[in-house]
Structure formats: structure tokens, C-alpha cells
């Protein structure tokens, strides 16, 4: 386990990566990527039992992670590169032709760290359930993690998977829901009110807990608690509060940076708020 200061430094560099990646190609999704930077850093640098240098699709003997919200690929690519799955220099190819770093993650280009394509929302929880079942069949005690968005919960397949996971007693699965309250067309509360999410997940038979996804200490606490709840016959859901655009003042408090890249001037302003760290830019 790394200490919190170190993790915060990594997360700060990941945020810089995100802004620089989307700015370079003037496309991509900075808002949710920035919001999830702390969680993804904690997961990849402190929580996952994994071997970045020996990535395998089957994930045997390792924890597995599925990004169901494929549009936040910038944050995933950054933590994958910085934790050693591939060279950080490759981040400069994001969304460019012939890159392994496609707009939405894919296995088609053979990028280490990615096990299934995502982008069309709502599919990752089902895949995570299948991977968790396979681990059970194989006698592999490692865990399966997935990340979802609160907007994504509007997809019906999520609830099919939620029912399946509880019904089949999949208890080696931790699904985290990024509750930033925003989606493309506006606040979740206006686009499609979701009511009491904790009550919904509980009603579907899951164990639930909350954490503050933008407080490294609380992220580590939440993930540790979630891990302690595995193996008890029920899947575990973390309702994680985050702020879309976290770390860049003008990207916070609004939904407009969900899928919009900053222009040159905005990029300069954003990067001024995210100073380069000892880890250095790619």
C-alpha cells in the first residue's frame, strides 16, 4: 500500500494527463475522467492485486477490472500506463489513427489492461459477473472490480446484471458507481431521476456502502471496507460521490465538460491548476 501523499501525487499527474490527452486531439471526455482520477489511482496503485508487466486476458491469479463507462478512457489509459501496463509515451497517441488507445477502450488493438470493449453503456456489469463466475469455477480467490456511472444506471441491462449477480450469489465482485449527478444532457435528477440508489441496490440483494471518491483517504477506506464485505454470499456496490471535472475549477459544477475538450486557452488555464509533478508529463 502506498501512502496517501504519493497516491495524491499520482492522481494529480493523471489529471494532467487527462487534460493534455483530450486537448491534443480536441475530443474525448475530460469531466468524468477527472472525477474518477482519485478512485482509479487508488485502485491501480494500492488496491488491485495485479501484475502490469504480465497482463493476461484471462486474469488468472490476479484481480480483474472492467470499465463499464468506456468514455472515461483517458483516466484509465493514464493509470494503466503509469502503473506499468505500457509506456506513458503512448498516451500521446490517444484517439489518433492506428492507435491502441481508441476513443473507447477495445481489445481489438491489443492494448494491455483491456479485456473487453466498452463504450456502449450498461454492458460492463454483465461481463464482470461472467468473469467473477469463471473465477469461482476456477477456484481463483481474486476479485473482480467494475466501474459504472450514475447516468449509466438508466440502462436496463445494469439491473438485469444486478439481479443476476445477487441471484447467483456472486460475492467476489465489487461494483463502484460514480455518482457525479451529471450526464450529457444535464443533471441526472432532471434527465432521469433515479430515486434512492442505495435502496435500489439493497433491494436487488447487494451489500452497499458510500465513499467520497475525491478524498484519497476515504477511497482507501471504502475499498478496504468493500473488500471486507466480499465472500459473504452477496455482491458489493460502492456508491461513490465524485465531482465531474474535479481539479479544474471551470469544469466543475456543470455537465458541459462531460464530452468536450478544452481549447488552447482553456487548456493553459486548466494545466495551471494542475502543476506538473515529479512523475513528469508523458
Amino acid at each position: 500500500m502506498q501512502d496517501i501523499a504519493k497516491l495524491n501525487t499520482i492522481a494529480a499527474q493523471v489529471r494532467r494527463d487527462i487534460v493534455r490527452m483530450v486537448s491534443a486531439v480536441q475530443s474525448g471526455h475530460p469531466g468524468g475522467s477527472l472525477g474518477n482520477a482519485d478512485f482509479m489511482t487508488a485502485l491501480y496503485f494500492s488496491v488491485l492485486e495485479h501484475d502490469p508487466k504480465h497482463f493476461t486476458i484471462d486474469g488468472a491469479g490476479q484481480d480483474m477490472f472492467f470499465l463499464s463507462i468506456g468514455h472515461v478512457s483517458p483516466v484509465w489509459y493514464s493509470v494503466l500506463a503509469r502503473s506499468g501496463y505500457f509506456d506513458v509515451k503512448e498516451l500521446s497517441t490517444f484517439r489518433k489513427i492506428h492507435s491502441r488507445l481508441q476513443g473507447h477502450p477495445t481489445t481489438a488493438e491489443g492494448l494491455p489492461g483491456v479485456r473487453v470493449a466498452s463504450g456502449s453503456l450498461g454492458q460492463g456489469l454483465s461481463v464482470a459477473c461472467g468473469a467473477a463466475l469463471a473465477k469461482r469455477l476456477n477456484g481463483d480467490k481474486h476479485l473482480v472490480y467494475s466501474l459504472h456511472g450514475d447516468g449509466e444506471l438508466q440502462e436496463g441491462q445494469i439491473w438485469e446484471a444486478a439481479m443476476f449477480a445477487a441471484g447467483r450469489k456472486i460475492d467476489n465482485l465489487i461494483a463502484t458507481i460514480d455518482c457525479n449527478g451529471k450526464q450529457i444532457d444535464g443533471p441526472v435528477e432532471e434527465v432521469m431521476p433515479e430515486g434512492d440508489l442505495e435502496a435500489k441496490w439493497k433491494a436487488f440483494g447487494w451489500l452497499t456502502l458510500y465513499m467520497n471518491g475525491n478524498d484519497m483517504q476515504d477511497v482507501l477506506r471504502g475499498l478496504a471496507e468493500a473488500k471486507s464485505l466480499t465472500g459473504k454470499g452477496k455482491p458489493v456496490a460502492i456508491l461513490m460521490k465524485t465531482e465531474m471535472g474535479r481539479g479544474v475549477d471551470f469544469m466543475m459544477g456543470t455537465h458541459v465538460w462531460h464530452g468536450k475538450a478544452p481549447n488552447a486557452e482553456q487548456t493553459e488555464k486548466a494545466l495551471a491548476q494542475l502543476p506538473v509533478t515529479e512523475l513528469e508529463d508523458y
Binding site: 488468472a60 454483465s126 461481463v127 476456477n138
Partner: protein, 317 residues
């Protein structure tokens, strides 16, 4: 002319069920899933034989496809069974992203395909499924003709690594291919040698084509009957070889003309060997309730329709 004997009517879905149990015995990594249709789709015998390797998904096909993809990642060989209508159209995006694009080793097992689903009517009678599935890169599309061949195909796809769409049906139909056949994916089977017209048939229409061939022989017309059990990848060499020799084509399938076998062969021939061609298929309409044999007649999918198509194409040769 070679003679094909019906050893007794059987449903192709039961061929799948028998093949699945056999595949499960041969390989511990074979697992099966079903969406509340165990005894209709014939995953039930596998579920009873290997309960620890069977996953009931409930009436939630989208999730079943995703769970199958996840199982496949870790080396399992999932066979996901449901009706063809729900294995394709209902879950197209899940199949596209989590299975075809991700190239996961999932076997989509689609029963009750085509008009011969019968009395349940058009909501369940999908005749677009071959088209939907063959358009997906990475997807292999197989439509065997009888019980024995469906069983053999099931065993073969368990050994093939990659996404497969296996299509089969509900009604009892003639079982005429060898019990001990080995199934080679992508390899067309010439059933009858001929010289006047090449008939490329798939699924339930292969038997109809054989019946047509007998009648036509009596009229002095010699047809070549080729069983295209694998629509994709199409056996290009077999098709072009037969067409180069004969230069008149009829295709026959229980599917819409749009997107089916005929469409694949027409594309191939228009690029390589433009040839007079007729298609026995359903023309851009939905089905309806009825007895399977009645529906095959009403929708122009029987031996008489094949004969008519052969005579028509001969006039254009």
C-alpha cells in the same frame, strides 16, 4: 443420383442439445447459459448433467450475452441458448460490443429460427437473423440442415476459438446426414453432382432441395445440390467451382431474401462470376401463425418452389 434416406424425423434443436452434452463431457471448460427456455432450446440436458457448469440467466438475454463474454475471457467456452429472435435482434448491441468486437469465445445458440417456429407467430419467427449476424466482423454463422449435422456442428464449434452464431429450429424434420459425420466449419458439402443448375441450400431447405432434385431428375434436369451449412465464412471455392461448371444458380433458405445466403452468394458472383440466379427465400415480410409445414408452403419455401426456381433460371441460362 445419390440417394438420401430420412432415418426418421427429428428436431435440429435436439441435435444441439445432444451435442452440447457431448461437448460438456469432452471438455470441462464448456459451460452453458439459458434465458428461461431450457427445455425449448434443449440446454436442459446439459443443465441436469453438469449443474455446476450451467447458469440460468432468467428472462434477461442482454445480461446473458454479457455474462457469457465474461466467462469466455477466463477460458470458459460458454454456449448461450435462447430463441433466435432474442439471440440476435433483442441483444444486437451486446453481441456486437461484448462478443463480436471483443472477439470473445462465445457460442450463441439460437433455436426456433425462421418461419417453422410455427404457431407463436411473427414476434418469434425471426427471418432476419442470418443477415444481422453475418454483418458482424469476427462472427461465424452456421445453419445446419438436420439433427445429425446440428449435433456435429455443436461439437465442432466447441473446438473453434471465436464467436459463433449457431442457428437451428423447432420442428421435427428429416434426419438424413450421417450420424458419424465430422463437421468442418466453412466447408460446403456437395450432396448431389449435377450439370444444369447449382442449388445452394441451407438449414431446413437442404432436404427440400434434395426432394426437388429427385423430381427434376425425372424431368431430365440434372441439378447439383450443395449444402451450405456455414454461411460465414462462405466456402467461396466450392461456390465458384460449381458455378464455373454449371452457370445457373438457385439458392434456398428459410430466411428473408435480404441478408440471407442468397444475398451472400449474389454478392460473391456479381464480383467474380456474374451468373443467372434465382432465390428461394421470403420476400421482405413478417411471418404469421400456422403449422410449420403449412407456413413453409405459404411462404414459398418447399421443394415445389425450388423446382419452380430451377426451371425459371434455366430459361435465363
Amino acid at each position: 443420383m445419390a440417394n438420401y434416406i430420412n432415418s426418421g424425423n427429428k428436431d435440429t434443436r435436439s441435435g444441439f442439445g445432444a451435442g452440447l452434452v457431448e461437448a460438456g463431457k469432452q471438455n470441462m471448460d464448456v459451460v452453458a447459459l439459458c434465458a428461461d427456455l431450457n427445455d425449448s432450446v434443449k440446454t436442459g440436458d446439459f443443465a441436469r448433467a453438469f449443474p455446476e457448469r450451467f447458469f440460468q440467466a432468467g428472462i434477461a438475454e442482454a445480461n446473458m450475452m454479457g455474462v457469457s463474454a465474461g466467462l469466455a475471457l477466463s477460458g470458459k467456452i460458454p454456449f448461450a441458448g435462447t430463441f433466435a429472435a432474442f439471440a440476435t435482434g433483442r441483444v444486437y448491441d451486446q453481441v456486437r460490443q461484448s462478443i463480436a468486437y471483443s472477439n470473445t469465445n462465445v457460442k450463441i445458440c439460437a433455436s426456433h429460427a425462421g418461419i417453422t417456429l410455427g404457431e407463436d407467430g411473427a414476434t418469434h419467427q425471426i427471418m432476419e437473423d442470418i443477415g444481422l449476424m453475418k454483418m458482424l466482423p469476427n462472427m461465424v454463422v452456421i445453419n445446419p440442415c438436420d439433427y445429425n449435422q446440428t449435433k456435429a456442428a455443436t461439437l465442432a464449434i466447441a473446438k473453434y476459438v471465436g464467436p459463433v452464431y449457431l442457428r437451428f429450429g423447432r420442428p421435427s424434420v428429416p434426419n438424413f446426414t450421417p450420424e458419424d459425420q465430422t463437421f468442418e466449419i466453412g466447408k460446403a458439402l456437395k450432396l448431389i453432382d449435377g450439370k444444369d443448375v447449382s442449388i445452394f441450400a441451407t438449414g431446413h431447405l437442404v432436404w427440400e432441395a434434395l426432394q426437388a432434385a429427385e423430381h427434376l431428375e425425372a424431368d431430365g434436369i440434372s441439378v447439383e445440390v450443395i449444402n451450405i451449412h456455414t454461411i460465414k465464412p462462405l466456402d467461396v471455392e466450392a461456390v465458384l467451382t460449381s458455378v464455373a461448371k454449371i452457370r445457373a444458380v438457385v439458392t434456398a433458405e428459410e430466411h428473408l431474401r435480404n441478408g440471407g445466403l442468397g444475398d451472400s452468394i449474389a454478392q460473391l458472383l456479381s464480383l467474380h462470376q456474374p451468373t443467372p440466379m434465382e432465390m428461394v427465400a421470403v420476400d421482405d415480410k413478417f411471418g404469421e401463425s400456422g403449422i410449420p409445414s403449412e407456413l413453409m408452403n405459404a411462404y414459398g419455401l418447399n421443394a415445389a418452389n425450388v423446382i419452380e426456381a430451377v426451371k425459371k433460371v434455366l430459361k435465363r441460362k
